[in-house]
């Protein structure tokens, strides 16, 4: 296929796309929507099925991170308490 033919083909596709903007802009499901209510249902379910897994995985990660921070703080507190117990109250050097 020559470059000129490719250019004409691309121009033709661009023209067709521009002449039918609704079909071009619509996604597969929106294109098959039969009414306004149906279009809204498609849109709503798309948002639900896209957003829900992201929100749930995000929520789980946030929960895991907060648990790790809580455990770290607890273990650090225990280590500090052990260090305080190990340290003699009156240093022989008098410091």
């Amino acid at each position: 296929m020559s470059n000129q033919l490719r250019l004409w083909l691309a121009t033709g596709i661009a023209f067709l796309t521009a002449s039918a903007p609704f079909a071009a802009q619509a996604c597969a499901v929106c294109f098959s929507a039969k009414s306004e209510a149906n279009r809204i249902a498609f849109l709503g379910t798309t948002v639900l099925l896209t957003g829900l897994p992201v929100a749930m995985i995000g929520g789980l990660l946030y929960w895991i991170m907060s648990r790790v921070e809580a455990i770290d703080a607890l273990e650090q507190g225990e280590l500090d308490a052990q260090a305080e117990l190990a340290e003699p109250e009156d240093s022989p050097l008098g410091a």
Partner: protein, 199 residues
Amino acid sequence: MEATGAVLNLSRKLPAARRRQLAPNGVIGILIFVVTEMMFFSGLISAHAIVKTTAIGGWPPPGQPRLPVQETLINTAALIVSGIVLAYAQRVYSRSPRAARSPMAIAILLGAFFVVFQGVEWVALLREGLTITSSTHGGFFYLIIGTHGLHAIAGLLVLVWAFAKLMRGELLSSELVTAEIFWLFVVGLWPILYWRVYL
């Protein structure tokens, strides 16, 4: 062999492993399960929403029995109260396991009421002619509500098992939390299903 030795030597230099678990295994497992179940029900609700808007002649289809909206509202209230009471039982358990017995028993009874009421409702609807093959309305109703019903039965069995262990004084806090998460999922999902399917 040298390589293995190097790895072993390296591992000795690593800091000590975490002593505390992030969360009990049961809790992590049930959370993953609940996430997958939520996606499963989202798929069903989405399919139902699309079919509902494409139905010719409105929804529910003409000639099909109407769902008992008011009666199911009572059932919905019973299930929600069951979830609240179980959450209270879990809070009480941390102070005194013995004190959690009564709220847990109430939660189970309310859950059982919900399942039995659903069964009675189904019998009435079947008598009126709403079957799984009578229409898409019937098909979706029995599929979505039936799947939730199976989850409710499974949740009740888990609660009964936990209650039996509580009565013997063998119930662990993590086991109660695991059972509670699943039951709260069943409870929390129901109002959404009621809104999408019944209203």
